[in-house]
Amino acid sequence: MNGYVYYPGCSLKSNSKHYEESILPVFKEIGLPLEELDDWNCCGATAYFSVDDGMAAAICGRNLSIAEKLSKDIVAPCAGCFLTLKKSNKFLLGGSEKARRILSALEKSGCAYHGGVEVKHPLQILTSDGRLEKIKAKTVRPLSGLKVACYYGCQLVRPFTDFDDPDYPMSLDRLMAAVGAEPVEYSAKTRCCGGSLTGTIEEVGLRLNYILLKEAKRRGADVISTICPLCQFNLEILQDKMIKKYKDEVKMPVLYFSQIVGLALGIPKEDLGFARSIIDLRPLWKKIDKGGRK
């Protein structure tokens, strides 16, 4: 396919606007400006697959079909969208009776899909095909001294393991190092944040996220760098409750990796959605401003 088209999904248009606000300028800066997929529909996430997997794959097929008409591959920043679209893509091309039925329904409704689209995560794109070196060269504001816990969560690296290791991936660590930051050893990097559990059974969600924050603190991180809206949301919004419940001062900024990269590339911080952080970022700015300029 010829270039990429951007699939936002529901989160990047609501609670994770700062992900969109940072990923788009970063891609522009490295020479891959992104257009939004026209009239995209929600991927269905884990919910639709729990109710009806045929319908779930079909609605993903509609998105794939729109991208195919443009001859573009999809870039999906939300790890949930990334996995759901990728999984459906694989299923639709698997040749099963059920897949054939869905493909025929897609055709009947004017969104035929022939299997020509690849689904990629922006981290994958930024760390392959020589782009890591390009980012390193373009770094005008190296984030030296900034200790980063790189958190991958679950669905970016599992169950498909074709882009990084499912247990101890390193692509985000390499990207953070490329912009001058210092990735810390973070053994919880692919431990699940619980996804929507924070909204359904808060107590459990609280504990899962506390484990992740505590480990980042213990490793001396100044900030957690995330690649998924649900992880970012869970890790950030529950901090006050965690501090109260576990009597442990685990407060820490949780930023999108694209915000951190954007900063290093010299994009003004006002244009990277930092104002949407619920956690006070002033201690972080102090630390970053101490870092040098190239």
């Binding site: 929600c42 884990t46 109710v51 009947k108 559990l197």
Partner: protein, 192 residues
Amino acid sequence: MEIVRKVKYEEELDTAFVDLIKTMSGDNEIDHCIQCGTCSSSCPMSVYMDFPPRKIIAMVKNGFKEEALRSFTIWLCPSCYTCQVRCPAKIKITDVMYALKRVAIQEGVYPARFSIPVLDREMSRLIASNGRNSELRLILRLYLKSKKPLALLKMAPLGLKLMKTGRMSLKKERIKNKKQLRTLLDALKEGA
């Protein structure tokens, strides 16, 4: 003390259940489970589960249909796929959990008013009719249908923070071509 028998005799088991789950999940390896427990020890949720994943797999394999479908385990699975990538027998454990959720919803045997299946159903409904999820609507439906309206009030401070940072959309999200989505889902229903 009442004597309770948890193990079943052969004639009480649903021996066709494992085949149904194989078809629905796309897993073909479940028969090869060696009960090593790698799944249970890898699972971030197993401490909260009534049956850890290892037991669920054994239950499916051996026809304990009711017990598997009524368990909290299947809903607590956040589909992080850790068990699935680590399973030495290459069983698609997460996909088996998904299949169990679907059967439980079809047969209406999930725990009453339990918030997780409610969320799954409400989100799917929103997407099927509008093509997009609207977060605020989803949250409202979740709390009303799982009969926890009071808990909603406790969410207010968080809601305010999100609103202040422009991270909560109040509008009803929808796609332009809703007709196409309708045709697609109808065509699929007909073909089924």
